[in-house]
């Protein structure tokens, strides 16, 4: 059986006046139907660019190599017209900032109905009705009134609900959510996560949740993939990853998160140094300069992902076998 999304050997590079840099290096991953895959990484880890490449949304100075297959169809080489058919209907994306991803001068009703008219072939009247029902489904109060409102008239939390509703209009097989709660207040964040969980239960779509916040990912993901400096360094089931991290980076990252309960610390746990810039990455493991377990081998030989398909780590000296 083939996976819903298959990314194989994906490399994304950006050309700059000072030379080309690689933001994503040889990334391979699969998303199965109905699963929720969490992608965790710090800024610059390449986690967003993997999926921007999949959606055909890379910046104009970027180039992608490798393969991205969605439901068996290659997307990287797909003509724009074909890509437009797929994305927005079977493959949808939710962004961090719902204000800038909604069109400011169109009403919520028009923007939502447009999706169904374009992708679903509905009449404007039918599409508007479907849009209203979807707003109710994503728990937007007074959906009828919202149809006539503009994005700026809604709070951040409601705008993100509208975005989620819009992404679900065509019953996509896969939704990619890039930091969907990062711009929101903590009380609203919790609500949006609960909504995504509910929508997954009701509609059964697969979800890729990209976030720097391990807490957000922990609340939703079945499986988590950790990225560092453009590469996947660890992948495991969500519970497994939190309880038995294998890659030292994952362990250190988990250790750095301040806790709401448990003993209070006089000093926060830290991870020395900072993520490398793409041009600073050498031949060995990109994490070696910050890694407490690094040995000479790590500096010269890059570790490949090892392990069975359920759990893999790219480390010469993993914390657990």
């Amino acid at each position: 059986m083939t996976s819903l999304l298959q990314v194989a050997g994906l490399t994304v590079s950006f050309s700059r006046p000072t030379g080309s840099i690689e933001a994503v290096r040889q990334v391979s991953l699969e998303v199965e139907a109905c699963e929720c895959l969490g992608i965790v990484g710090e800024s610059g880890s390449g986690k967003t660019q993997v999926f921007m490449a999949a959606m055909g949304l890379l910046a104009s100075n970027a180039a992608a190599a490798g393969s991205v297959r969605f439901a068996g169809e290659e997307l990287l080489a797909a003509p724009r017209a074909r890509l437009n058919r797929v994305r927005g209907s079977k493959l949808a994306m939710i962004f961090q900032d719902p204000m800038t991803s909604l069109t400011p001068h169109l009403t919520i009703g028009t923007q939502m109905a447009e999706v169904l008219v374009y992708h679903g072939g509905l009449s404007w009247g039918e599409a508007r009705g479907a849009a209203r029902r979807m707003l109710a489904r994503v728990q937007v109060p007074e959906p009828e009134r919202r149809l006539n409102q503009y994005p700026h008239e809604l709070s951040g939390g409601l705008r993100q609900r509208v975005m989620i509703g819009m992404s679900l209009l065509c019953e996509p097989a896969l939704v990619i959510a890039d930091e969907p709660t990062t711009a929101l207040d903590v009380t609203v964040q919790a609500q949006i996560i609960a909504l995504l969980r509910l929508m997954r239960r009701e509609l059964g779509m697969a979800l890729v949740l990209i976030s720097h916040d391990l807490g957000v990912v922990a609340g939703l993901a079945d499986r988590i993939l950790v990225m560092y400096a453009g590469r996947i360094v660890e992948t495991a089931g969500a519970v497994d990853l939190f309880e038995r991290a294998r890659h030292p980076y994952t362990a250190e990252l988990l250790n750095c998160i301040p806790r709401l309960s448990g003993p209070r610390l006089d000093r926060l746990p830290t991870l020395a140094g900072q993520p490398p810039r793409p041009q600073e990455i050498g031949a060995g493991c990109a994490f070696a300069p910050r890694c407490p377990r690094a040995a000479e081998r790590c500096r010269v030989e890059r570790p490949e992902l090892q392990g069975d398909t359920a759990r893999q780590a790219a480390c010469h000296f993993p914390l657990l076998p």
Binding site: E142, V186, T187, L214, P258, R264, L271
Partner: protein, 310 residues
């Protein structure tokens, strides 16, 4: 040392701030003692950053007093204010945006020295800057570089060096690590705590991250819609919060959702601002609750705080 035994270093009394017709701070009063770390938590729009800027008179207040060692910053003349400002410094959220892109690291850190210690020779200044760079974990060789050459964490270290070069008595930190990666946040927080311990600086630490604030604050102020709604010692806030909003905030931080549709409407301007979202709200909440001391050192602005205590 028990800070409560001494006079407060900073006392804010009845502070109101308006932006045109819109009031953004309502009757804010609290005290801050020497060497203390006070965490200010609340969501966006709660007035945390406005409070920070109003204390430093970076924005004008409409009413109330900002008493710094007994002297009102609101009524003192500009030369006195200028002199007092040396003791009050701020670190902003956006590390790169708060540095002048055309100034080298050395010039950035030197600026407060040029203003407040004009008698220093260039050589003396350079020694002070070198020591400060080392103190904040930057190499001396970085002194002649420009902000854009540094990462976010490094820029924040430069901002902290600039703020701490005069050993201020109070450092206001406005979301100092929010724009940084998790792996770098701890480094910056620990640096602030080390500097605080060495220089005896009090910290007013503004953050939306409740888990972070918990580890470094002695006391916590909780803000909602421009009002202080709860003040208490750290453990009291995290273990026995009284205000229904504080409880919701903590539950949300722990991942528990509680969806009360608020329609994106602005918080209420009269009475208890939280009553349209509060599950404990009663008709009497249409009258504004005062910030009352419910238990020693535990202040709550809620009509039902005493009931919730039991």
């Amino acid at each position: 040392m028990n800070p409560a035994a001494t006079d407060p270093m900073l006392r804010i009394a009845g502070l109101d701030v308006r932006f045109g017709p819109r009031q953004v701070l309502f009757d804010v009063s609290f005290e801050l003692f020497a060497g203390e770390t006070v965490g200010v938590v609340g969501e966006s729009g709660s007035g945390k950053s406005t409070l920070a800027r109003a204390i430093l008179r970076l924005i004008p207040a409409d009413k109330g007093a900002i008493l710094w060692r007994g002297r009102d910053l609101r009524s003192c003349d500009s030369s006195t204010l200028q002199r007092l400002r040396r003791e009050l410094q701020i670190v902003f959220q956006d590390p790169l945006g708060s540095l002048n892109p055309r100034m080298t690291v050395a010039d950035t850190i030197a600026e407060p020295l040029r203003i407040f210690e004009p008698g220093l020779s260039a050589g003396e200044r350079s020694v002070r800057i070198g020591a400060m760079l080392e103190r904040v974990g930057l190499e001396a060789g970085m002194a002649d570089r420009y902000p854009h050459e540094f990462s976010g964490g490094q820029c924040q270290r430069i901002g902290i060096a600039r703020a701490m070069i005069l050993s201020p008595a109070l450092l206001i930190c406005d979301e100092p690590v929010s724009s940084l990666d998790v792996s770098v946040q701890g480094q910056i927080v620990n640096l602030l705590l080390d500097l605080q311990r060495d220089a005896g600086t009090a910290l007013l630490f503004i953050s939306h991250n409740l888990a972070l604030v918990r580890h470094l604050s002695h006391r916590i102020l909780v803000m909602y819609a421009g009002r202080l709604i709860e003040i208490a010692a750290r453990d009291v806030v995290y273990e026995k919060p009284l205000h229904p909003y504080t409880r919701t905030l903590l539950a949300a931080a722990a991942g528990q959702a509680e969806f009360i549709a608020t329609d994106g409407a602005a918080p209420l301007q009269t009475g208890c601002a939280y009553r349209d979202r509060c599950r404990y709200a009663l008709p009497l909440c249409a009258a504004r609750p005062a910030l009352e001391e419910i238990d020693t050192g535990h202040f709550v602005a809620c009509h039902r705080a005493r009931e919730l205590l039991s």
